[in-house]
Amino acid sequence: MTTEALTVVGSRGSRTRRRIFTVVAHVLLVGASILMLYPLLWMLASTFRPENEIFTSSSLWPSSWSIDAYFRGWSGLRVSFGTFFLNSFVIAILSIAGNVFACSLAAYAFARLQFRGRNFWFALMLMTLMLPYHVTLIPQYVLFLNLGWVNSFLPLVVPKFLAADAFFIFLMVQFFRGLPKELDEAAMMDGCSPWRIYWKIIMPLSLPVLATAAIFTFIWTWDDFLGPLIYLSEMRQYTVQLGLRTFVDSTGQSDFGGMLAMSVLTLVPVFLFFLFFQRLLIEGIATTGMKR
């Protein structure tokens, strides 16, 4: 009887304790969320407020609204940001095509086909994941220079068609291995070639992983800075990241509003992916440990 009474009291006590914990946790988390998002929201607000207010106001609500900064920024350089956006989109879309196609071919071989040396090549592929790209940077530059590809998109795109982003091979191998083997075996019995099995069975079943690879490819190439910085030197070929950087160097000190407005615009595509494919992104990170 006494023990029964004790447990009742105990559970009531722990229930209040739990409630206090919940309130404290929410207060902490909301505080942290505000702190994390404040800079982003402030940047957004600053693009709509009068130029002189950017340096004096820490509020998130402009005293008067204007979208002038977007027009100023859009044509703030010799070449308009429209060109930079177009270039970035072209590079991103070609990169997606390259990565999805070349990486899935290699992943299919590693996951499904029997051939001598498979484990050897697979181990080498995993080793390239750890490699800092700096050790290949200079010879690759020399190679592309000799091919006459510098000052074009080719050095940024062609490596994707050669499955240079080995991370996606790894991602797809994991997924392909999870597909039921009976499908290929039955198709093989019916005389299907490996190519048909890849194209007609594996690829249609792998849309989730192909979508993940496509989205991450987009975000990575969209944000890539070093590649375009090295290979593109004419302004009409610049990507948005190079355009922004040029903006900082040339007019950034005089037109803060325009610079922040263009910064916001370059974040919009990635933010839209975040909005619509958040689950896919978070699952991708949780299951494979991608860094972003």
Partner: protein
């Protein structure tokens, strides 16, 4: 006689069949695999193995891109360690950055993940909010924002002014400039947090129930159950984040305008490598820098794996 000639004839054609059969069998067995692997193989040799060997060779030469490489032996490497104050500065900056940003980032990630893992309502919303900075953080736009936040008349100082504090220009003060980059890195704790959350979910709840029955405090449960069982995830996150921190480039480039200033206080290793290679066209020296970076990362990874058996708990 006819019988014998017939016999040899048969065996000859038999051998011929067997011979083409061997090649056909090899083709049948290995051909498709290598065909599918072909794009990757071309890339692997053309863009990875070949360039690696070339850059190793270049690291023993002076090479300015226009004239042929000039063999200088180990001179580039000896210069790095004996006669290059900028290299020493870059090493200091990079190690300082790695040593402070990685543990702080992981500590935040783990603390928030543990708070979120207690069955709180609104988990998806919180997770999304904390993840957003790591998704956006690698861009030039965020580096520009950071430059503005920590400028002399930036948002941080506007905020401090409310308390009567007149802050310095954090970006252009060599005592603080690197810290602004560390804060930028810690701000992006979202993706390791997601990995921690996934790891925390793998820990069976009944272990905690058993521990509570035995009277173990929450604090003790953290040190005796959560942390040991989470060490594989901690290990993974630490390696990925450390390698990433070694390779960090864009924020330092944008915030310092590509210079690594003030007084080399943001001269990240990769920024120095970029300057040497594409600013001064000292490609040989830059190759030596690249190979030393590879050695540092390899040594760090090997060291982590070798020591992991003493602190990483593997369930087997």
């Amino acid at each position: 006689m006819t019988a014998r000639s017939m016999e040899t004839g048969v065996s000859a054609t038999g051998r011929a069949v067997a011979k083409t059969g061997v090649w056909a069998r090899i083709w049948q067995q290995d051909g498709p695999g290598y065909l599918f692997l072909l794009p990757w193989l071309i890339g692997f040799f053309g863009l990875t193995v070949g360039p690696m060997i070339t850059s190793l060779y270049l690291s023993f030469t002076n090479f300015d891109l226009l004239t042929t490489p000039d063999w200088v032996g180990a001179a580039n490497y000896t210069r790095m360690f004996t006669n290059d104050p900028k290299f020493a500065a870059a090493m200091r900056v990079t190690f300082f950055f790695v040593i402070f940003s990685v543990p702080l980032k992981l500590a935040f990630a783990l603390a928030v993940a543990m708070l979120l893992n207690r069955g709180l309502k609104g988990l998806p919303l919180y997770r999304a909010v904390f993840y957003l900075p790591s998704l956006l953080g690698g861009s030039v736009a965020i580096a520009i924002l950071w430059r503005q936040l920590f400028a002399g008349d930036g948002l941080v100082n506007q905020f401090l002014a409310n308390f009567g504090i007149i802050g310095p220009s954090w970006i252009s003060n060599p005592n603080y400039s690197l810290w602004t980059l560390i804060i930028l890195s810690v701000w992006q704790f979202g993706s390791p947090m997601i990995i921690f959350l996934a790891g925390l979910r793998q820990i069976p709840q009944d272990m905690y129930e058993a521990a509570s029955l035995d009277g173990a405090s929450k604090w003790r449960q953290f040190w005796k159950i959560t942390l040991p069982l989470l060490t594989p995830v901690v290990f993974f996150n630490a390696i990925v984040q450390t390698i990433d921190a070694f390779k960090s480039f864009t924020p330092a480039f944008v915030i310092s305008g590509g210079t690594g200033q003030p007084i080399n206080s943001t001269l990240f290793y990769t920024l120095y490598l970029y300057q040497e290679a594409f600013g001064f066209f000292r490609m040989g020296y830059a190759s030596a820098l690249a190979w030393f970076l590879l050695l540092m990362i390899a040594a760090f990874t090997a060291f982590s794996f070798l020591t992991s058996k003493y602190w990483v708990h593997y369930d087997d």
